[in-house]
């Protein structure tokens, strides 16, 4: 592990230089707020951007992604035989993401990279990607990431963690991928390891002081699934919900998807789209029977998945990194912090 | 109102046609369809509301 100093006057030049190797993604600002986008040459990531409305999960897991294709023309030798859709998995670097978003990607990895099956689309994209995060000196008011196993200077899932020191970045290079990225940018001004680490520790401590939400999650694991499921509070939690998919789409850890086929002329494509447990269609059987037919069922599913099923299944804490995006974007102000507290404190009478 | 909204969205009004044809008016139906297809053919291919599968 080593530290590098990057003078901000060299930053842009370095990023442009790395384009020889990397496709660059980063936050950009438009009239609808900040978004993570692929940056064309000359386009620079806004490193001090507000939290992006959408998380960086789409870099590995696009909202719509073609997975298989087939030719339906029966005169062709291989008609109706599906093939993997062509995608490029050349190296890409995601710059300026927040540390909690890097942890989120590690949580999503639990789903896509398992001992039984490996999702090749997500995993290939993951392997091609270098994550360059930036420590948050001033976490947003919605940030509760210190309660979710990370924090404003968390290193989990990052290849490089930058600290913003006004005129320069101090970069903590965490992995070989991170080293390769720094080399491709030509960032090579080493910094003293001991001093730098002290500085990181101070920044981390200062930043964490700014997070006022301390969310209790300690008692979730010991509760029974059925007790929480049958608890009386779900009707109240769900009342205001309009069952849009906003919370799940803005969430960096929500991984559920749908698979759809389309054809045009003699070409068929199978692709996957993000899906949302908020939609009745998500679980509707072909027979018309729906095991989660009411919105109370669906709201409960979302919170039970994040705050209980996931906790029990993986023993990695809750399926939430505390970014606060769902809290900020929910049209009816359903607040996962409140629901988590209710669940954590619930005792069956 | 549908036509107006489509036009407002930038769709060529000549691509949308409303006619009242009774099931008994076969000749009128043929004439109208012919007229519309000629008109649309003259306008050429549109990219609006047409899915691009080349990507």
């Amino acid at each position: 592990m080593n530290f590098i100093t990057i003078d901000k006057s060299n930053w842009t030049k370095g990023i442009e230089k790395s384009r020889g190797t990397y496709q660059i993604f980063g936050p950009v600002e438009d009239e609808n707020g900040c978004q993570i986008k692929s940056l064309e040459p000359g386009g620079q990531p806004k490193m001090n951007a507000d939290v992006t409305v959408m998380s960086p999960k789409s870099v590995l897991f696009p909202q719509t992604e073609t997975i298989l294709t087939a030719d339906l023309d029966e005169s062709k030798e291989d008609h109706h035989i599906m093939k993997r859709a062509e995608q490029k998995y050349t190296p890409r670097a995601v710059l300026g993401i927040r540390p909690y978003d890097a942890r989120a990607i590690q949580l999503v990895k639990l789903n896509f990279d398992t001992k039984d099956y490996r999702d090749p689309y997500w995993c290939d994209a993951y392997e091609a990607t270098t994550f360059v995060g930036i420590g948050q000196n001033r976490p947003t008011p919605f940030d509760f990431s210190t309660s979710t196993g990370c924090g404003p200077f968390s290193e989990e899932g990052l290849d490089v963690l930058l600290a913003d020191l006004d005129d320069r970045y101090l970069a903590k290079v965490l992995t070989p991928k991170g080293e390769a990225w720094a080399a491709a940018c030509g960032f090579d001004a080493g910094a003293d390891t001991k001093e730098s680490q002290v500085l990181f520790d101070i920044l981390k401590k200062e930043a964490e002081k700014n997070i006022s939400t301390d969310l209790g999650t300690d008692k979730l694991a010991q509760k029974s699934i059925l007790d929480l499921y049958e608890a009386p509070f779900w009707d109240d939690v769900a009342f205001s919900c309009i069952n849009c998919g906003t919370c799940t789409f803005v969430c960096p850890t929500c991984w559920c998807f749908d698979i759809q086929d389309e054809t045009k002329h003699k070409k068929a494509a199978r692709f996957r789209n993000w899906d949302t447990c908020m939609s009745p269609l998500f679980t509707n059987h072909a027979s018309g029977h729906n095991p989660r037919e009411s919105k109370v069922h669906r709201v409960r599913q979302r919170f039970m998945h994040k705050l209980k099923y996931f906790v029990d299944k993986y023993d990695q804490g809750i399926m939430c990194v505390g970014c606060g995006r769902c809290v900020a974007s929910c049209p009816v102000n359903i607040d996962i912090r409140e629901v988590c507290t209710i669940m954590n404190n619930y005792e069956k009478k | 109102m549908m036509g107006n909204l489509l036009e407002h969205m930038g769709v060529d009004r000549d691509r949308l046609h409303f006619s009242w044809i009774s099931s008994a008016e076969a000749t009128k139906f043929v004439d109208v369809v012919k007229e519309i297809s000629d008109k649309v053919r003259a306008l050429g291919t549109t990219k609006k509301f047409a899915k691009d599968y080349t990507k």
């Binding site: 906003t246 789209n273 809290v327 | 006619s19 509301f49 899915k51």
Partner: protein
């Protein structure tokens, strides 16, 4: 409007105490600055949770449908701004909800504020917002601003001509003066003045960030179909991916399904996480409904909507 809340609470307490209503649907305070949360109040003790302020931008008619009416003789009470009341009337005109099941607590409304407009004035995230009459005091870590409500009104509220509920059971305050507008649809006129390609590009740019979360649809009281056309699989009317043609089709058809029914309440835009002004679609239809049929939705329980009835003098020059 700001004294309304005390009156609203008093009305609700009475209604719940004498059993006339099973519950009151209103707004409660939110957990973050500039937010409110729809709530169903069923006990007198919970009446205190009700608020009414400049951030009650959703439409509560959305929480009344034929599936959630009380089974017995009781009613549901709804705290209703002009637009909420008009959408309740639309529910009734469309035979979704009988008039006698709903108790409308009318609120004379001076408009809701546009949170994005406020957020844009700040470098960083807003941490606190308080309202005192027509003035908002908004604070972030770096700055504090005192903002006049009228300067940050939502677009639909700026062009609202029915701030007072046209139909109600009781009013919670004196009616406010209605606005008279010389130009009720300048935004529609502006788009209409562009050439067709520019108009097409305008709508393409407008919807480019759409994530198809359907918050616009689900926040809308008009969208009560048991199965929406986008969710239909047989036939499948529209693709489910992020193809721009599918996105445009969704927005165009969603809007068209609101033709002659939309009250321009702005809940769709309020709900959109991506800040898309989907009212650019519906406003054109509202303008046409007014120009062609002299119609504004939700004003009258006894008049049928123009697309519901045939009249010999309906405009028919589009039929060739």
């Amino acid at each position: 409007m700001d004294t309304c809340i005390e009156k609203i609470k008093a009305i609700c307490t009475d209604l719940l105490a004498n059993g006339e209503v099973e519950k009151v649907i209103g707004f409660a305070g939110g957990s973050i600055p500039m937010a409110t949360r729809p709530i169903a109040v069923t006990s007198e003790a919970d009446v205190e949770k009700l608020v009414f302020n400049a951030f009650c931008g959703l439409n509560l008619a959305n929480y009344v449908s034929k599936n959630n009416l009380p089974k017995n003789g009781a009613k549901i009470a709804v705290v209703a701004k002009g637009c909420d009341a008009r959408n309740l009337v639309t529910h009734m005109v469309e035979n979704q909800v009988p008039r006698e099941k709903v108790f409308i607590i009318g609120v004379p409304c001076t408009g809701m504020v546009d949170k994005r407009m406020i957020a844009q004035r700040f470098e960083d995230e807003i941490t606190q917002c308080t309202q005192d009459g027509d003035t908002l005091t908004v604070t972030s870590a770096l700055q504090q601003e005192v903002i006049a409500k009228k300067d940050v009104l939502r677009h639909n509220c700026q062009y609202c001509t029915h701030r007072n509920p046209p139909v109600y059971d009781v009013m919670s305050g004196d009616p406010v003066e209605e606005q008279i507008l010389d130009q009720p649809f300048p935004d529609v006129d502006h788009i209409a003045s562009m050439d067709p390609e520019t108009r097409w590009d305008h709508f393409a740019e407008l919807t480019k960030n759409c994530i198809r979360c359907y918050a616009c649809r689900n926040a809308c009281p008009l969208c009560y179909c048991p199965t929406c056309f986008v969710d239909e699989s047989s036939p499948q009317w529209v693709g489910k991916g992020q193809d721009k043609t599918d996105i445009t089709t969704f927005h165009f058809l969603r809007a068209f399904h609101c033709a002659g029914r939309c009250t321009d309440c702005g809940a769709c835009v309020e709900a959109c996480p991506m800040g898309i002004n989907v009212r650019d679609f519906t406003r054109k239809l509202n303008k046409d409904a007014l120009d062609l049929f002299g119609w504004e939705a939700g004003m009258d329980l006894d008049r049928r909507p123009p697309l519901d009835v045939y009249s010999p003098d309906d405009p028919d020059d589009f039929i060739k």
